[in-house]
Each structure stands twice: as C-alpha cells, then as structure tokens.
Amino acid sequence: MSALGLARLLLRRDLALAWRQRGQVLLAIAFFVLTASLFPFAIGPDPNLLARLAPGILWVAALFAMVLSMERTFQADFEDGSLEQMVLAGLPLPILSLTKALVHWLSSGLLVTLASPVVALTFSLPPQLYLTLLASLALGSLSLSLLGTIAAALTLGARRGALLVPLIILPLSVPVLILGVMAVQAEALALSATPHLLLMGAFFLLLLPVASFATPAALRQALD
C-alpha cells in the first residue's frame, strides 16, 4: 500500500477512535468553555471590560484546552506497538506526524474554534468580530496542533511528563497567541486583521517543515 494510502487509513482509524471516545473530545471543549467562564468571576461581569478582554481570554482558554489533549497524541499507539507496526508497514514518519497533527486539529482545534462564538456571546463581543475570531482561532490552532505533535513526540515515554508538554509548548505558542489576539483587536479598531492573519498563515507554513523534521526525529528516538 502506498504511503498516502496508509495515511488515509490512519486518518480514518484515528477519527473513528476519536468519535468512539467523543466524550473525551467534548470534555476538552467543555474545559475551554469552563476556563473562559472563570474570568468573569475573576475580573467582574462588566460587559464593557469583558468585551475588551474577550479576544485574549478566549485565546488563552483555547490554548489551554488544546494543550490538554496533546500529550496523548502518540501515547496509545506507542504503548500497544501500533506505532512501530505503522512504520514497518511503510508509513513514512513525516506523513504519520502530519496525519496525527491533522487528527488533533480536527478533534480539538477545529471544535474549539466552532465553540468560540458561543463563548464570545457571553462576553458581549460585538458580532461583527466573530468572523475574525473564527479565522484567527482556526489558523492559530493549526500551528498549535503542529507544535503539539512535536512536544508529544519529544515526551513519549518520559516518566515525569505531566507538566512537560505545556512547559514546552506554551513559550513556543506566544507568537500565535499575540498575533491571534491582535487580529481580533485590530478588527475591533476598524483596522484590517488581514496582515495578522497572513502572518499566522506564514507561521503555520514555516512550522510545517519544522514539524516534519522534528517530530520524526523525536519519534525515532522513542522507537529505538
């Protein structure tokens, strides 16, 4: 079977797994909503303040929710030997890594993005900003999923891995966070969000080759 054929198999199988465990997936979304909901308790319910801080709060909550689900990206397959099987069957590690990133995005980043307008509503974010919010979260979460695969592969088999993945990912996601929030804020100031979104796209394109080298290198270390 060709590499892409194997990748398609992996994609279908992982999505089926995610569907079967949709409780877990929904938990991550619930965590996103919950984290965001803590802020009104912390900073007060004033709608103007909430609307002003909404882009930042939503972005941080989305970041946390996505990081939660990253650690397990390769875990199950590594433990039951399927990872090795896939490699032996001829699935190149770069394609495997990108497929895993896609699965993570579909089951985490995309869903958080789709849930964001509902949360934005409770923060009195003006509706005309919703589109930019969606675009910024969608683009940003793509990069986050890539970073997540790198971190997940690096920490595979680590014994004290609990806070390791967030410690690795969060500093590296600062550019995404900054650009994502600034995009919505720019739109709010009637300036264009396009430069920010373009830069986020560029960052994602830069991460593609980085992740395609780094994740396989890390996986090889785990499999040796």
Binding site: I150, G157, L170, P171, P175, V210
Partner: protein
C-alpha cells in the same frame, strides 16, 4: 570539530585549557567590575543605577549567545552525529538559564529606580522571560527520562525547534510591546544618554562572561564524559 570528537582527547584538552580560561574569566570580570563601579563616572540622567548595566547587558547577551551555541552543538549532534554534541548542549543549558535569570533580575533592579516598577512588559524583558522558559523546558526534558542519552537527544531536537521559532518570538513580542507601550518609555539599555566612553566595561564584562561560560562548560562536559565512563564501569562490575 572532529578534532574534539574523541571524548578522551576532549578531556585531556579541557584539562589543559581550563586553568587559563578560568583565570581569564576572573581577570576580565574583575577589570570590568572595577571599571564599571569605580572608574566610570555616574550617568548624568540615570545616576549610579546605570552601573547595573554592566552586569545586566552582558548577562542578556550571554543568555542569547549560550542558546545559539547550544543549538549549534545540538545540530552537530543530530545532523553530523558529533559524539559530544548532545553532551555539550545539555551542559550548556543550566549556564544559559543562570544568565537569563540574572538578566531578568538585574533588569528588574535597574527598572525599579528608573521607571518606578519592578517589572515592565517591554520587548526585551518579555523576550528574555520566554527564553528563560525555553531553557527550563530543555532542562526538564533532559531529566524526564530514565535513559540520560534519550533525554539529551530529545533536548537537542527541542533546542533546534526553539532556535527557529526564537526570532519569531522576538519579533512578535517586540511588535506587541510597541503597540502597548507609550512611545516615551526609554529602553533599558539607556540608548538615549549613555556615552560611548561609558560602554567599554560592558564589552570587557561580556568577554569575561564568555570566558566563564567556556570554563564552566568544560567542567560540566568533562563531568558528563566521566559519568558516562562511570556508568559503563558500574555495568561491567554488575556483570562480574
């Protein structure tokens, strides 16, 4: 580089070089501090607080320089399979973290009398803060595995990923800072009033810190090489 590839030979060279580099470090730092604290007059606007610059700026430079050299060592280990690449990278990380920590704290001590607050989210300090977290991540990753070699290799990959993303972090943080800071804020290296004649001790300190870095790095790499030798001896003893 391949000249230094043999661990045994590396240790022998390190032993010969170490006394000189250490002495150089002590002399340069002493001269730099004396110049910065005694010889150079107080700044017209900032007064004596400007003397903090003589440790803050070199520390910040070292924080970045150590990371760059760490990434180079990681690359040599991963791409060219230099046997000491991973060890050098691992040994450099705590030194870089120490310089980063010093840059942050001395920056804070400089900022308080200058701007009235202990911390300012300006571009430079914020970037250094993120760099500090990158160092912590590297060190944590090394320690997270039972097999030390696996930890070293993982940290090497992370170091390279970090070095690619670091300029982007710097760029985005600088952009973010300028958008949120009033334009009148002076940058911490006091570029507006400090005269060139006051700057030479900074260079001397930077050279002294570099010599220090090399010295401590040699000690730590030698320790790693010997520790690895020790482990294989312990394994052989267990077999016997």
């Amino acid at each position: 580089m391949h000249f230094l590839a043999n661990p045994g030979r590396f240790v022998r060279i390190a032993d010969r070089v170490l006394p000189w580099v250490s002495a150089l470090a002590v002399v340069l730092v002493a001269v730099g501090l004396y110049a910065g604290l005694v010889i150079v007059p107080a700044d017209y606007q900032q007064g004596d607080t400007v003397r903090i610059m003589y440790v803050h700026v070199p520390a910040a430079w070292m924080a970045m320089f150590v990371y760059a050299s760490l990434a180079a060592a990681a690359a040599s280990g991963l791409i060219w399979r230099h046997p000491l690449g991973f060890v050098i990278a691992q040994s450099a990380a705590p030194i870089g973290a120490a310089f980063t920590f010093l840059a942050l704290v001395t920056g804070s001590l400089w900022g308080k009398p200058m701007w009235g607050t202990w911390w300012v989210w300006d571009g430079r300090l914020t970037s250094v803060l993120i760099l500090f977290f990158l160092y912590l991540g590297l060190m944590a990753l090394v320690e997270a595995f039972d097999d030390p070699k696996r930890g070293q290799k993982a940290a090497a990959v992370l170091a390279l990923v970090g070095v690619v993303i670091l300029p982007i972090i710097k760029f985005s943080v600088d952009w973010w800072a300028t958008l949120h800071q009033p334009a009148s804020i002076m940058r911490l290296d006091g570029q507006t009033t400090i005269h060139a004649s006051q700057l030479w001790p900074v260079l001397v300190m930077a050279l002294g810190f570099t010599a220090y870095y090399i010295a401590v790095l040699l000690v730590r790499v030698k320790q790693q090489v010997l520790a690895s030798r020790l482990r294989s001896l312990q394994l052989a003893a267990a077999d016997a």
